[in-house]
């Protein structure tokens, strides 16, 4: 051990070097996010709770019951109930269920949607007490989940 190393050891230089890093942080800006108190902001592309969009003018659903989202889903959690209209030969949407409990938010369903009816919205606070509440039907998907904000 050289004299230099000995002096470093005796005077605890390596620890003091560490404190030189950690010490100044006492006076720096705090990085932590105060999440439940301050609502978190997510970017526009965030994949959160699914939503079925409606036409803002007429209020009718944009879904054309093409079943592409159900076929695109890797888990198969979307169920589109549809019926062919005898007169117009078009599919008509009868019901729509989305099992949000199993969703892994890969966005493949929304990418498959030809009319932008299905979308993964920016809402992420939809924890519930019962898993059955995460089976969302058409009405629930159009309305979106109820977000309960943190209050003191």
């Amino acid at each position: 051990m050289t004299l230099r190393q000995l002096l470093r050891k005796v005077f605890l230089i390596d620890f003091l070097e560490g404190f030189a890093i950690t010490g100044p942080y006492t006076f720096k800006k705090v990085y932590t996010e105060q999440y439940p108190k301050v609502p978190a902001k997510v970017p526009p592309r965030f994949h959160g709770a699914p939503r079925l969009n409606v036409d803002p003018e007429t209020g009718k659903t944009l879904c054309i019951a093409c079943d592409l989202c159900a076929q695109a889903c890797p888990i198969g959690l979307i169920e589109v109930q549809r019926e062919r209209n005898a007169e117009t030969k078009r599919w008509e949407l009868k019901g729509y269920t989305y099992n949000a409990a199993r969703c892994m938010f890969c966005n493949l369903c929304a990418e498959a949607c030809p009319t932008n009816a299905l979308e993964l919205s920016q809402t992420f606070e939809y924890a519930v007490y019962d898993m059955k509440e995460l089976y969302w039907d058409k009405a629930a998907l159009e309305k979106g989940p109820t977000v309960v904000r943190f209050t003191k």
Partner: protein
């Protein structure tokens, strides 16, 4: 030791034979996190598989998906546009930083340096914010699609990344000042978990665990993929193959990744981000093996296609599985406290080992 032990990084169980504090024998028991991903994907379309690949190594989801989509593209003969190649390189390197920062934080925490954990996660948070803005998710990002990216990255993100690359080397210097010269850190890591270059090669170690033993092997240089052929970077290697050398290798790798990100930002070409691929992907019948350098080592995908829209067989060569195999060689004869250091230095992810 384990499977529910805070220092085993997941659900690893180690059967240790001890003489007092000395380790006489060791056997790793794995399989607690087996989800059967390789079997699950046999019933999935090719474009439905990337979300599952995210969940193999969940700390480096972007790298996993890159390996998979490049394997399928190779099988189909798709040429990816240059902008997509550069963005892939950029995002993969950011993910390498995120993965190494987790390693640094948890490894230092295991050995007893709490502060570095908080600092490392602060920087990782910035990277995850970039992923969130680009891909819509933080951890299991589903970043790439077959043929390129789903969509171009949003405006403003590149400036954030540039800002990050400006201050990141200073932060790495901070970690180094906290750890490299610290005598507790040196006593706990120097000479612990030694493995020679020959042993490392015969065990099939890859990534920083191999380079720590002094073998200059990196898939990014050996068989360039994405845009790595255009990038200028160095491959750091260690000398003694102990925990301290692997630590130094990873720290230097972080700086080199930062350099690659910088180059990718400077040379980012314009143009489309996705090649024309059919809606239903049906690669020709045949088989392909494609390997990339994931943060933990060489990650290989072996795909057997029978010409249908689903793979006949998909085999993943996970780096952590082979790295874990060397654990017996590394810890027999050392102390129980060193076992924690060796698990940390191997940088294993159990999701990848069990799949």
């Amino acid at each position: 030791m384990g499977p529910q032990h805070p220092a085993t990084h997941g659900v690893l169980r180690l059967k240790l034979v001890l003489d007092g504090e000395k380790v006489l024998d060791c056997e790793a028991v794995i399989g607690y996190l087996h989800r059967g991903i390789e079997k699950v994907v046999e019933s999935q379309d090719y474009q439905q598989i990337p979300p599952h690949m995210d969940r193999i190594d969940y700390t480096a989801a972007v790298s996993n998906v890159l390996g998979y989509v490049e394997a399928v593209e190779k099988l189909m003969g798709v040429t990816v546009p240059p902008r997509a190649q550069y963005l892939r390189t950029l995002m993969t390197e950011l993910n390498r930083l995120a993965s190494h920062l987790i390693w640094l934080g948890t490894h230092a925490l295991d050995i007893g340096a709490m502060t570095v954990f908080l600092y490392a996660f602060r920087e990782r948070e910035e990277i995850l914010k970039v992923f969130e803005a680009c891909f819509g998710a933080r951890l299991t990002t589903h970043a790439f699609r077959i043929g390129g990216l789903a969509e171009d990255i949003p405006p403003g993100v590149l400036d954030k990344v540039r800002e990050f690359t400006d201050y990141f080397p200073k932060r790495v210097a901070e970690y180094e000042q906290l750890l490299t010269g610290n005598r507790i850190w040196m006593n706990r890591t120097i000479g612990v978990g030694c493995i020679s270059a020959e042993d490392a090669i015969s065990f099939g170690l890859t990534g920083p665990s191999l380079r720590g033993s002094g073998v200059r092997w990196d898939m990014r240089r050996a068989k360039p993929y994405a845009a790595y052929a255009d990038m200028d970077f160095e491959i750091p290697i260690g000398k003694n193959g102990d925990t301290f050398d692997r630590y130094l290798v990873r720290m230097e790798e972080m700086r080199q990744s930062n350099r690659i990100i910088r180059q990718a930002l400077d040379r980012l070409p314009d143009g489309p981000v996705r090649a024309k691929v059919p809606k239903v992907i049906k690669p020709p019948a045949g088989e392909i093996y494609h390997a990339i350098e994931a943060p933990k080592g060489v990650l290989g995908y072996y795909i057997v296609s029978d010409g249908s829209s689903k793979p006949h067989r998909l085999r993943v060569r996970p780096p952590s599985y082979f790295n874990l195999a060397a654990i017996k060689k590394m810890i027999v004869g050392s102390l129980v406290a060193d076992v924690v250091a060796v698990i940390g230095t191997l940088d294993i992810v159990l999701g990848e080992i069990d799949r």
